[in-house]
Amino acid sequence: MNFIKASIQRYQLGSLLLLVLLLAVVLPLSLDIFRLNLVGKYLTYAFVAVGLVMVWGYGGVLSLGQGVFFGIGGYAMAMFLKLEASDPVSTKIQTTPGIPDFMDWNQITELPTLWLPFKSLPLSLALVVLAPMALAWLISFAMFKRRVGGVYFAIITQAVALICTVLIIGQQGYTGGVNGMTDLKTMLGWDTRTDGAKYVLYYVCVGLLVASIVLCRWVQTSKLGTLLLAMRDKEDRVRFSGYDVSNFKVFIFCLAAALSGIGGAMFALQVGFMSPSFVGIVPSIEMVIFCAVGGRMSLVGAVYGALLVNAGKTLFSESFPDLWLFLMAGLFIGVTMAFPMGLAGLWEEKIRPWWKSRRQALRDAAVKRPAAAAPVVPTATPSEPTLPDGVGSQRA
């Protein structure tokens, strides 16, 4: 029992359980499938936000190009689905049946070599994780070994995001161009557009997200997590304690990229298309905002950040489409100025202490009242000794 309690505290499972309860029970029961599918879409961004907690919050490396990895994961999934949707029967009116429609429009008559791995589902799923990691490794290895960091790294990741968008849009015949990949229908014959499939995909998404959070929490509590915090504080001291600092940064960057890739794949599955508008600079910065609003040191907070900002986006952009970007910018600046640790920081530093002191005050009052009723020795009012955290709740 004590062991369970200790590990709940160590891995902060309490807040995670609350999140699971919300995502797996409360939301599915209270929302219709259309809204739930929207939540599922927001949750795919939460994968990126969780990755950003690791790389930005813990690693101290701000990446403004996470959309790239989200996109690669998404495209890897979408390419598989697109190939399945482009079987020779349903594409028989094309000049070349059996290839995706946009290829046919662009006078491509044969499936490009790049597309061949996406005929197989296991290979596609592997590439959802491995392809973003490979690119992340390439970028981060080149940068961190040369000790490029801070603003310079952020600018380079932004440039990568821009390059990727230009590349995707420019290579229409291979990528579907600005429209992206549309009309994704089935996965191994299973129709992903039905309500039932949407429920299943939603739960898969929640499951993967929770697993990702647990994985990240495990990394945080390992020595590597401590080292990341140490590096953020005094990088030279870590280096001169015998660590190859760049390797740790490369690792955490690749981890974040892999998570983003999974998010992208879940996006393609749940939303039914993938386009370059989720790859470029603007979506990448939006993802940083989700993380900042939720709290860049809190994995669970990042999920709430992604949910709230996206819900706000849907709500406001329906009524005031022109104002939304200004509101978003205002939110980002406001949050970083007023509470730099985001909603999670607000909770930890303000709401919880306030709640605790309130409970303490109530308990004190409850103790004092019977003491006051006995007027014989009024000075001997027993004062409640202050208890360590956790003990108080057992007595209450």
Partner: protein
């Protein structure tokens, strides 16, 4: 360069920044079990010398050998793994971590990415942390956040972090800067204890402190060695009096 019996052999070392030679053709040998103090006026190149040995700065020419292994082309973390520890001038500790974590992170195991993921803080680590914490007088502060320590305690903590790695060569840049008289005494005792079985290089300005701890003193001036030997001999040297002690 020939091999030697010294722990550290610096030969014909030169480094120039845009033509200015911060270290100029310097040769220096440090024995095992020796505590060497380097003194000299500001800008003499003392800190630069330590930077060159630990790899923070790259040498323009010359050789640095540690136990007969050439260091000049080696990456910083590899030099540390050979057994070279360096304390920086301003206390360089992880302010947001506890004293225990500061020492734990410095334990020389789990230094690779996957090693760090698999690292477990077992009894060996805990005992080592406890022993070092007692040595540096912070045994009752293990759970304190390091940023809350006094300046002197931060200096000790950084020395402790180096001791966790059992270095064969320990380089301390102004270890008593900002310390009270009592703290200085304790530090002198600490240094005398820790120079067993290892070579120690200390940069220091405080002459009373130098006299207390030094086996041998090297005086640097404009990137070169001006004098070397026992404290009394160096203090009596007219050249030294002229550039440094006389002022």
């Amino acid at each position: 360069m020939s091999n030697t019996d010294f722990a550290l052999a610096v030969e014909d070392l030169t480094v120039s920044f845009d033509g200015f030679k911060a270290i100029d053709d310097l040769t220096l040998y440090i024995d095992r079990n020796e505590l060497r103090v380097i003194i000299g006026p500001n800008g003499a190149g003392k800190t630069t010398l330590l930077d060159l040995i630990c790899g923070k700065t790259r040498a323009s020419a010359g050789s640095i050998k540690f136990n007969n292994t050439e260091l000049t082309k080696m990456a910083e973390h590899k030099r540390v793994r050979l057994g070279i520890g360096r304390k920086f001038q301003t206390p360089s500790i992880y302010e947001n971590l506890s004293v225990f974590q500061n020492l734990e992170v410095s334990f020389p195991k789990g230094r690779s990415v996957f090693g760090a993921l698999a690292f477990r803080c077992d009894d060996e680590v805990k005992n080592k942390v406890q022993a070092i914490a007692e040595d540096i007088g912070l045994a009752d502060k293990l759970d304190t956040e390091a940023g809350l320590l006094s300046h002197g305690q931060k200096q000790w903590l950084e020395i402790g972090m180096l001791l966790m790695q059992e270095p064969e060569l320990l380089m301390l840049d102004e270890p008593i800067a900002g310390m009270s008289a009592r703290e200085r005494e304790l530090t002198a005792e600490l240094l005398k204890r820790i120079c067993q079985n290892r070579a120690v290089i200390v940069i220091e300005h405080d002459m009373a402190f130098v006299k207390q701890i030094a086996h041998k003193v090297t005086v640097m001036h404009q990137g070169k060695i001006l004098a070397e030997g026992a404290m009394e001999k160096v203090q009596a040297d007219p050249k030294v009096i002229d550039v440094y002690l006389g002022h």
